[in-house]
């Protein structure tokens, strides 16, 4: 089973250190880990550091991988104007690093990713004609089609309507449970984090504030000190924790 552990990890752009001294417990396949924190906390930078796109001190230890490309990353949506269909766009992500000949297995994986995200109906649409939310799902399919052991998604629900948010997070839960993927997901919605993730890391100003089981991490104190809001966590009738925001500090 895949594992990921960060030890005193820092990341820098040029000489500017953006993220520093991040140490986490060992995360395992089957877990969903929420990456939380306000804007500009360093979440995307940490993803890029784990992926090896940025330099820095410390160790990113990944073990137990089975895939050719063990880590797949879905960055935040920046729009796309390429004259490609959704099907081609997902195939493109699958084919990176491979030769130009497309095998039936590659097409099957594309269709699997599209099916899992329930966007097969978009297959023939041009990527440039999609809404932001649809593009975000295609972007998730592009990460999924790489069959990674570790899937990292940077704010994947930011442009989705509520129905699609819940559905996408449900898909991630199934991927973790059934395919034993380790999923790291940056979220702003702490309610979603409480409901769908097993562990959470909270970043602020490039430093790790706290890390542990999500229910233990998201507390009224965290809401007040990091998010500058007041709120409480209560158990709903089914015993699941529920976040109630009362107001800004």
């Amino acid at each position: 089973m895949v594992t990921l552990q960060l030890t005193r990890v820092s990341a820098r752009y040029g000489r500017q250190v953006i993220v520093q001294d991040i140490t986490t417990p060992r995360f395992e396949g089957g877990q969903i880990v929420a990456l939380l924190g306000p804007n500009a906390a360093g979440k995307s930078t940490l993803f890029r550091r784990i992926l090896g796109l940025l330099k820095g001190d410390g160790e990113v230890a990944i073990a137990g991988t089975r895939s050719e490309r063990p880590v797949a990353y879905m960055p935040q949506d920046t729009g796309a104007t390429a004259v490609l269909t959704v099907y081609e766009s997902v195939l493109l992500a699958r084919m990176q690093g491979r030769n130009l000949r497309v095998q039936n297995d590659d097409l099957a994986q594309v269709e699997r990713a599209l099916t899992e995200l329930n966007i097969t109906a978009l297959s023939d649409r041009d990527i440039g004609d999609l809404s932001g939310g649809q593009r975000q799902l295609v972007s998730a399919a592009q990460a999924l089609v790489q069959e990674p052991d570790i899937l990292m998604l940077d704010e994947p629900t930011s442009a989705l309507d509520l129905n699609r948010q819940v559905n996408l997070l449900g898909v991630l839960r199934r991927l973790a449970d059934e395919r034993h993927m380790l999923i790291l997901v940056a979220l702003h919605d702490l309610g979603h984090a409480l409901r769908y993730t097993d562990a959470a890391m909270v970043l602020e100003n490039g430093r790790l504030i706290t890390c542990g089981p999500t229910e233990e991490v998201i507390t009224p104190a965290l809401l007040r000190e990091v998010y500058r809001v007041t709120g409480r966590i209560e158990s709903c009738s089914r015993g699941q924790p529920q976040l109630i925001i009362e107001g800004a500090v």
Binding site: A82, E88, Q146, E178
Partner: protein, 356 residues
């Protein structure tokens, strides 16, 4: 979504559409090849001595079946020019296509990035003052000067692009700045040069296929043949570049390394083309856009499609340049600008789907 089973469920309609799209593109490429052959034949047939298409085809496939005079005119005089049109058109179009791809900008081309202007300046130095940037035989001074200045421009743009904070938009602005700088230098050369030299410079900058010879053709073809597979092997990565650097990186592409390699390769293509036939604008802009509309941006089709579209445009331009005024060959650069741009605007404005 959450009720869907996790096991692979085939989406046959998606695959069927994809397959039909592939087939359609293969047929379009074949049609372009056929159109190119027709255009080549018409180009060969036209000139002071006119031949029928039958005679041209006979001369191509059974040279002994036509008169010696026809054989000499078609094979020795017209063929290098006609074939040069194909190779130069393909080279400029591929160069434009990949510049647009790696810079993610629809306005990028050898012309707009100043590479053609740099080459023109190098050529003008040779034509006006006989200055050779590196010592060489007198007949090669102009093309070698043009080539060197084109490469210098490309590397200058690339070096500036490596500076921190420089975006792809800035690179295009740098290219435009290069165009203005070289245009000013050209004006300065023309101010100091003799009247005869000014005429030579002006004619060179118009771009003309009549400069073509067999050795130049073989060299230009050799470079095109060498560069195409080097670009093709990056096909998936280049297609990914159209999603922007961050997305391409997330797919495992190294955008900076790829951009440098491709910039060098396409500058070579553009430099050779401009060095041998002068400044021929807009092919690098129009060719890729037509290919994009016809074939999309999957590089497996976009790359050969761009080459074929560029070759076809220049070949048709060559036909037009011979047909407008009987007995006179108008410089091809004038034709490509006059005919290419309205055609391009027509295509873009009448095409329902976005071409960028």
């Amino acid at each position: 979504m959450s009720t869907e089973p996790l096991a692979a469920e085939h989406a046959p309609e998606g695959r069927v559409f994809y397959r039909s799209q592939i087939l359609r593109r293969q047929l379009i490429l074949l049609a372009l090849v056929a159109a190119l052959f027709v255009s080549l034949c018409v180009d060969l047939a036209l000139g002071p001595a006119r031949y029928s298409l039958n005679e041209v085809i006979s001369a191509l496939f059974a040279p002994n079946s036509v008169s010696q005079q026809a054989r000499v005119i078609l094979w020795e005089i017209r063929m290098p020019t006609a074939l040069m049109a194909l190779v130069v058109g393909a080279s400029l179009s591929v160069a434009g296509a990949q510049m647009q791809t790696i810079l993610n900008n629809p306005l990028a081309s050898p012309f707009t990035l100043g590479i053609s202007a740099g080459a023109s300046f190098g050529a003008a130095l040779g034509l006006a003052f006989g200055v050779a940037i590196i010592p060489t035989a007198i007949e090669f001074v102009v093309p070698i000067n043009a080539f060197l200045m084109a490469m210098v421009t490309a590397f200058l743009i690339h070096a500036l692009s490596l500076k921190r904070g420089v975006t792809v938009e800035t690179i295009v602005l740098l290219g435009i700045a290069m165009v203005f700088i070289f245009n000013s230098l050209m004006a300065l050369i023309q101010f100091f040069a003799s009247q005869q030299a000014v005429a030579a410079v002006v004619f060179w900058t118009m771009g003309s296929l009549t400069k073509a010879t067999w050795p130049k053709f073989w060299l230009a073809l050799g470079i095109l043949i060498a560069v195409m597979p080097l670009l093709a092997r990056h096909g998936w990565a280049l297609t990914a570049m159209r999603f922007g650097d961050a997305k391409a990186e997330s797919m495992g592409v190294n955008p900076r390394a790829l951009r440098l390699e491709v910039l060098v390769l396409v500058s070579l293509l553009a430099a050779i083309a401009v060095a041998f036939v002068g400044t021929i604008g807009f092919i690098g802009l129009v060719g890729p856009h037509i290919a994009r509309i016809l074939l999309g941006e999957d590089q497996r089709f976009f790359l050969p499609g761009s080459a074929l579209c560029g070759a076809l445009i220049l070949s048709v331009g060559s036909v037009i340049s011979k047909s407008v005024i009987p007995g006179t060959i108008i410089p091809i650069g004038i034709i490509t600008s006059l005919v290419g741009i309205p055609f391009f605007l027509f295509l873009v404005l009448n095409h329902k789907k976005a071409s960028w």
